[in-house]
């Protein structure tokens, strides 16, 4: 090889490396979006399950409870006679088709971290 001459081997390796890194970056961007979306959903679903369990306990045992919603995320909780929903950012998790007509709740629309009274 002469002084100053660029070899084809080097060009091939550089080209291959660039293509590989582009493909890897695209994959990781998609993967990160999936993981972050999953994390946000997990938190909204966690709050939904928590609220659902509290109301279920009142329905089952006829007791009155003073319930404070978890505050690990910013969210809004909405309860009506047939559903419970938790909205966090653009994500909404909901349980439909419930019969909550025999349960009384002091606030039907409240934020995560707020306290309510649930009774039968």
């Amino acid at each position: 090889m002469k002084k100053g001459q660029l070899s084809a081997d080097l060009l091939l390796v550089i080209l291959t490396a660039i293509i590989f890194l582009i493909v890897l970056q695209n994959y990781m961007e998609g993967f990160n979006a999936t993981v972050q979306g999953s994390a946000s959903t997990n938190d909204a679903e966690t709050v939904l399950i928590d609220v659902y369990s509290a109301i279920g306990a009142v329905k089952a045992y006829g007791s009155t409870i003073y319930y404070t919603a978890p505050k690990n995320i910013e969210c809004t909780i909405t309860i009506d006679n047939t559903s419970i929903s938790v909205t966090s950012g653009e994500e909404t998790k909901k349980f439909d088709g419930l019969n909550l007509s025999d349960v009384s709740i002091t606030k039907n629309n409240f934020l995560c971290g707020d306290s309510i009274t649930i009774s039968k």
């Binding site: 090889m1 659902y52 045992y61």
Partner: protein, 180 residues
């Protein structure tokens, strides 16, 4: 292997790059599997909460001592309440009372399929179908006492302490199966 001046590319380097790519691929695969497992565990936890809740509501709704013609009214035949006792885990099996229950009263959401069975009978809305082989399924069984008769405290205590033959109640099994 003797390298010529200016030579960068060698078979050794090629093999090393292939192995490096394979290693990165395996790592990403393991990471993706972890995320999948977490998602599956979350689904199973959700189904368990729903099944447990439905079982509690089932047994709590038709408590022993309730008037079957007015199940939401005050219990006229409740010798314990005046003394401050609550009978938990006891189900009034008077015919007709069971029919008042359905999927929505058991707080089972629309998106969840279910089968709730007691003594060969199924709750309305949870009485058809079986889970697909690929579905996530949770099954719980609750053993509880059932009676159609007025309950004397002495009978109740005999049954709890197994002092003598317990004839006041029958042992029953509630099976709650939910899947998604």
């Amino acid at each position: 292997m003797k390298k010529e001046k200016g030579q960068i590319f060698s078979i050794d380097f090629l093999i090393a790059m292939v192995l490096a790519v394979l290693a990165i691929g395996l790592l990403l695969n393991a990471y993706e599997l972890s995320v999948y497992e977490i998602k599956e565990a979350k689904t199973r936890n959700e189904l368990t909460v729903i099944a447990m809740n439905a079982g509690n509501i089932f047994i709590g709704t038709n408590q022993c001592g309730l008037d079957p013609s007015n199940p939401s009214g005050p219990p006229p035949k409740d010798p314990f309440k005046d003394q401050g006792y609550e009978i938990n885990g006891c189900f009034d099996s008077t015919p007709g009372v069971f029919d008042l229950l359905n999927k929505s009263k058991l707080m089972i959401p629309d998106v969840i399929s279910c089968s709730v069975e007691y003594s060969g009978k199924k709750v309305n809305g949870c009485d058809v179908g079986n889970p697909a082989p690929s579905a996530n399924v949770v099954v719980i069984e609750r053993v509880f006492l059932a009676t159609q008769n007025k309950i004397a405290k002495a009978d109740y205590e005999n049954c709890i302490d197994s002092v003598s033959t317990c004839s006041t109640y029958s042992n029953n099994t509630l099976t709650v199966k939910v899947w998604k």
